[in-house]
Symmetry: C2
Subunit: 411 residues, 2 copies
Amino acid sequence: MKVAVLCIGDELLKGAVVNTNLTYIGQHLLTMGIMPVLSLEVPDRPADVTEALQYAMNHADFIITSGGLGPTADDLTKQAIAEYLNCPLELDPRAEQAVRERWYSLKRGELPLRFLNQALIPHGAEALLNECGSAPGIHIRTNTTPEKHIVMLPGPPAELHPMFDNQLLPILKAHLDNRLHTRLFHISGVPESRVEERTIPILESHPCLSVAYCASPEFVKLFLTSPDSLCVESAEQAVRKEFFMEMLSDGASTVAAEILHLLKERGATLALAESCTGGLISELITDMPGASAGYLGGIVSYANEVKRNLLGVSEETLRKYGAVSAECAGEMLSGIVERFRSDCAISVTGIAGPKGGTPEKPVGLVYIGVRCFEQSLVAEYHFRGSREQVRARSAATALNTLRRMLRGEKL
Amino acid sequence: MKVAVLCIGDELLKGAVVNTNLTYIGQHLLTMGIMPVLSLEVPDRPADVTEALQYAMNHADFIITSGGLGPTADDLTKQAIAEYLNCPLELDPRAEQAVRERWYSLKRGELPLRFLNQALIPHGAEALLNECGSAPGIHIRTNTTPEKHIVMLPGPPAELHPMFDNQLLPILKAHLDNRLHTRLFHISGVPESRVEERTIPILESHPCLSVAYCASPEFVKLFLTSPDSLCVESAEQAVRKEFFMEMLSDGASTVAAEILHLLKERGATLALAESCTGGLISELITDMPGASAGYLGGIVSYANEVKRNLLGVSEETLRKYGAVSAECAGEMLSGIVERFRSDCAISVTGIAGPKGGTPEKPVGLVYIGVRCFEQSLVAEYHFRGSREQVRARSAATALNTLRRMLRGEKL
């Protein structure tokens, strides 16, 4: 099956919004072993939408669009595509009821007629109900040979995600020519090239297996795909054995989620003392729903006086070794454990840049302390890249170190 | 001038990377009054690249590509485009020198021949030197009628940004048929529809002016564009008058940057007490280089015991009103000011969801306290949306409130 993605909206081309819908769609198609053959972003203009649709239909048999389904004047996707395919729009009774119910639940008074436009569906198409918004999605099968599918999804991510998962995925699965079996693993703390090397023997012993890798500062995603379910099962066992220590548990899609899971399992608590990461690690952890079960909180000690007064870093350490030193990271670590009485803790101090580096302490020098019950360690790192990258790599390294210690690795 | 963007890389279609290059290019073109007519993402396959290039050339006269210029096997952009245009690749002496210097600066031993491939440039094209990486960019003028421009930029954002700013922008400006004059304003704390309404009279009195809006939780960007410099100047005065209180200073591109600027101006310091935002506000502030000038740090008081022990919120307040209450936000605010001895402070406590809401205290209920020297206030908000949106809106509202108080508004 060949899939193309078409995202509609001036805001994407003006750079007002990052196209996370493409990312979401791409990630979720990959779990079925599918990579889109292309993606397009076009403005809210009917001619641009239909020309791009034509181009996408020349290259794919499933076209997923996002955006332009709402009730306002610049929402033209549905009209443009219906006109292009020569399908008149008709009021869909199920969609009309859902749109009406949505309006009255918002308690905004009388329903404006324009709002009902959202329940117009091209003749012969299927409405996909919207659990988190008003505009329904639309599934059209063209009467061309070969038949093509066009699935229109709403632009807001909060509406697109559940509609993709609950309504589009089953449609895609039903049309997969050869049902593909897939597995996804998150491997943390190993560079992509090493993951690739260590996967080669598994590939060699599983001839009908294909693999894909996606790297981020946090981890490498490893996808296994095969039309043969036994092959995928056997490869899965081999991958689990090879990456036993580095793999996140099933169900955890971030290192922070894995840490919260491990903390819960052990009834343990966590506190943070952040300097150069400035709250980033705390933000990554509290981004997870239910973080409050194990995470107590932390201190962002950006200024030296905060390191001294709130974390108890000694005047002498700051004078003799400086705030960016293993000694300071160690004292921040014991200070935060003492004040928060937590079982686990992380401390980070470093130079994120772009300024503030010296020949002895260059930009990218970061000290990370991690405590896990009785075990503590402080290590020195040299991260390359921009301020943002140094901060992201510091956070990823700190979290992964704690994860490994919580799993009982001796570091 | 019509511009199209073509981003090359499997990782974009797999959802491993969000296409922030399109966002960057879109934002910066808009400052010249240009919105791309379309954008495409394609895999690392020569046929996909050249087909997409053909489609882009049918719709635009300036095509900007990103990605696929590096030294590895999947970097095929340059070869594919050169072959498609029938331009042989030649070693460019200036590019060769830069590539060699780059390699030796990395101190990785002998230069592998493959690395020098990066200095191959299509015959007749111009190499754009890469300040932050090894692969040069390329500017080709086609020998078609009308002439088209193809500018290839490297994929890593840290390399693309300076090359776009310092080398591509001057080329674009030189080819703008009618030089456009533009202004950009950041307007914070006003919904997009209100910005639009309040701009109508200015548009009516400036017939050759066009405007564009881009909304985010943080602010609305307002762009003015006109071929007539006097018209833009006069409209600028009118916009400055209309949005005097709500506009960020020139040079500040985020509310956090504006706050750091205002703190510096007054020699003031800031500390944060975050609960439901969990470090997000701290992260936004420390994302700015030089944040340490005014920002001291903060306490993330996720657990109630941290609110009590580290911020001095009273047992009685927590029992009687709960952690999500105006009373608790007020005590968090005075607690953080006392402990950090800061001139300004923000406190946030609320229910970000998706769970934890009750009929009396639903998801999205957030209390925000802000102190600016002698002035303090605590207000109640009801934010809609996902956990992520509630957190983002809480952070944006808190920062904007402090900004307004620092500017001397009476709230």
